[in-house]
Symmetry: none
Subunit: 258 residues, 2 copies
């Protein structure tokens, strides 16, 4: 089973690129972030035509997440972070597919640091950690997947010193990420490629992609039960070079579900 995440930066502007990538990559499950479209403007007809069912949670101008599935039945569990239901930003969607709890997230960016947006990020992380703790405690097969807006380590950024004041690279944010790993979650991509330079985001500005001036923000974390099923994974980096692409690239893993 191939599971992917892709921050599309506008589902409707990105539709041709998304459909082309779906056809090439043939993922079974896809978690999307930054739809930037209200609920009623999600292009469900074209997604269906490509062979995917979808559950999505849109929002007028920003945020918005979706989960696509080809051939696997989906059951919606949550459309906001439990304990954070009064959050008016669409950033969390949880479904069960093939007995796996799939948590699609678009964690707040938090810039500028410091400030109220960063405080909101830390508050969101607090609720998120509570949820991930529950999933671990219940020994469920689960995946945390999406745009974490966290650069985990200095390996995951082209010039660490330039990101010292950025909300994506603050020690308390990176600590929250490393605690997830300590609690039993496995960073699938880093596990498969322990030493490689791997980025998932390149800014639109300053020809960042041409210079490979990227950062790693999009992650796939596996619960202990699923770790042994991890077969392959990667970043579809070339997609970032296509015309009219998102500033993120798709990230994927293949699990051996037997």
């Amino acid at each position: 089973m191939k599971i992917a995440t892709y921050n599309v930066n506008g589902i409707n502007s990105r539709l041709p690129v998304l459909l082309k990538w779906l056809q090439n990559a043939e993922p079974d499950i896809v978690c999307l972030q930054e739809l930037k479209a209200p609920q009623e403007k999600f292009p469900i007809d074209e997604i269906n035509k490509a062979g995917y069912e979808a559950i999505w949670h849109g929002q007028k101008q920003w945020n918005g997440i979706a989960i696509l599935s080809k051939g696997f039945e989906m059951t919606e569990v949550q459309r906001s972070l439990p304990g954070n239901e009064d959050d008016n930003q669409s950033r969390y969607l949880e479904v069960i597919i093939d007995q796996i709890v799939i948590c699609c997230l678009y964690l707040p960016n938090g810039n500028p640091y410091p400030g109220p947006k960063f405080d909101y990020k830390m508050e969101w992380i607090k609720h998120f950690k509570k949820r991930t703790k529950q999933l671990i405690d219940m020994d469920l097969p689960a995946i945390l997947i999406g745009d974490f807006n966290i650069i985990p380590t200095e390996k995951d950024v082209y010039k660490p010193e330039r990101w010292k004041d950025d909300a994506l690279f603050q020690p308390e944010v990176r600590k929250a990420y490393s605690q997830l790993l300590k609690n039993g979650w496995t960073d699938a991509i880093r596990t498969l490629f322990p030493e490689e330079t791997i980025y998932t985001f390149w800014d639109y500005l300053y020809k960042a992609y041409d210079r490979n001036a990227g950062i790693r923000l999009d992650h796939i974390l596996l619960s202990p039960y699923l770790r042994s099923q991890l077969m392959r994974g990667g970043v579809d980096k070339e997609v970032r070079g296509w015309p009219k692409s998102s500033d993120h690239a798709p990230v994927w893993v293949e699990l051996d579900r037997k």
Copy 2:
């Protein structure tokens, strides 16, 4: 030699449509109006890639004209209407190609009538007529080509009575046009098709194109010397039906230059 005019209504928004049309129609010379782009945002690289050289006169938000040439050398003569150089609107460009003086124009719309914008239109026409008179007096091979924003006769509009109060159809404007013909200029399209209903513009609103509720605004006028060289001509009406099209269609003639 095939010479065309096309009011693109935004050169950068129209680029895919323009390139597709250039490839299909293969004109040698193209006069463009309503670039709606400043000088530095003209997409010269893509135009070059399509095989055309270009001279253009951009303007920040409105107006803007260009002349493209494939395989014929161009010499710029004027980039504003002589006698009207302090006009700050980019509406006139004159070049010599293959010994023909080509006058690309985007005549002011003039709405609402009456008012200062209509006065500006009449003032512009006054300067324009002076220039056309000079060209006739000098017996030069010349073409007046572009968006005249003039509906010449009742034949050239789907419902004349609805345009009685419009600046495009005022008697004094139509008179200026008929005087050009009297002075020796030949309306190429009307000469080729004396009785047909021919439109070059259909409003974006109210499904005007589907209803063929159009008007004829884009004209190609030949000096006496060139009249005998007129072989063919037409309106590429289907282009108006393409996705993301301009509200105008391209108009073209073929001259036998021997």
